[in-house]
Assembly symmetry: C2
Homo-oligomer: 190 residues x 2
DNA sequence: TGCTATTATATGATTAGTCCTATATAATAT
DNA sequence: ATATTATATAGGACTAATCATATAATAGCA
């Protein structure tokens, strides 16, 4: 399970609470592995049962107590094992391609609108990706070494390059559709 | 829900059974929207309750009876509505990027092995994608018009182009790592 | 002769994840 | 003065999907 190991990954740097972990996810891996707050807490409970992490409860004045989780030796070994393991084939699910697949029954204008919507969503996502370094540089430097920062930045570079390729294809396809490369509808159903 | 609407999409062409639908999914949209057999049957039951499809049970000699589903008028309208609707932002989950993100603690050789594994999975997937047209041309032509085939082929073209971009980035990154662009590990933990 | 694949539908159990809500205090913003 | 945000944990309900299994006849293969 990826969330389990992502949590182990963060705890390898430094002990953290569920609350800290949620912020760490949002500031760094959210764009390719978002994590729900309640699921982080439930997963921490499971990791504790499994003996991969251990808790220390720290009381605070006028604040809820912090449950600080840290890696055990077994947790460090499990993390290492997972990091060097071949993962099951990636699951690809692209709902807008389902729209495209069945869009032959729509008018050319409606189909173009679909592609424009997808292009706009992608542009917004790309912009957000470009702003990630500014937003989390401090965070990254506080926790990671230069070597670790390098790989953090690699993941962002990958996502940006792939999204640029996606957007390029979509923009090219919009051109093709505007030049009416698609066969016309034959007869009306519905 | 995407599976619901993908089923409506197939039934728009022609009435089908759950068994037929499973084959249709596997031959066409599986590479961006795989569908589990049991989930198809459960979804058909739900679609019937909702009044978007209706069943006709056809008895056979020495075979289980076929439950043939066809679109109702409400189903046709729902499909059209969904095809022209903006979808919620796509969910991106890339487990191997989580490996890369936390791989600073591994040796350079181990990291290269990670990228090689991902590259090989992608190459296999690309090969399979290239074989899709041969495998399902007959299928596509039997059901769809030239206009519909055009959009079927568009979805495949998209996935191939994106996978090629992914593979290009990964191969480039392997080069960078072989030239030791990554900062070295500072001190050993664990 | 026995094994597997094909046709056809369906249920049970489980998993990974989302969304909503509860609780409680302090600080900040409008 | 009031509302929102930040800090901090956690449970309930639900959803989409997977995996395994059951049933039952026929056809093809080794």
């Amino acid at each position: 399970m990826t969330l389990e190991h992502a949590i182990l990954g963060f705890l390898y740097y430094i002990p953290l609470t569920g609350y800290d972990l949620k912020k760490a996810f949002d500031a760094s891996v959210q764009h390719f592995w978002p994590a729900d707050q309640s699921q982080i807490y439930r997963t921490l409970a499971r990791l504790t049962e499994q003996g991969w992490v251990e808790v220390q409860v720290v009381q605070q004045e006028n604040r809820p107590p912090r449950h600080v989780y840290s890696l055990t030796q077994a947790g460090r070994e499990e993390l290492r094992r997972w990091l060097t393991t071949e993962l099951p084939p990636e699951e690809i699910r692209v709902p807008w391609l389902v729209q495209v697949f069945f869009s032959g029954q729509l008018s050319d204008e409606e189909i173009l609108a679909t592609f424009e919507r997808v292009a706009n969503q992608l542009r917004a996502r790309l912009e957000r990706a470009h702003r990630i370094p500014e937003d989390s540089t401090a965070y990254i430097e506080a926790i990671g070494s230069p070597r670790e920062s390098f790989f953090w930045m690699l993941t962002l570079d990958y996502r940006i390059k792939v999204m640029e390729a996606e957007l390029a294809w979509i923009e090219e396809t919009i051109q093709r559709l505007q030049h009416k490369e698609q066969p016309p509808a034959e007869k009306q159903r519905s």
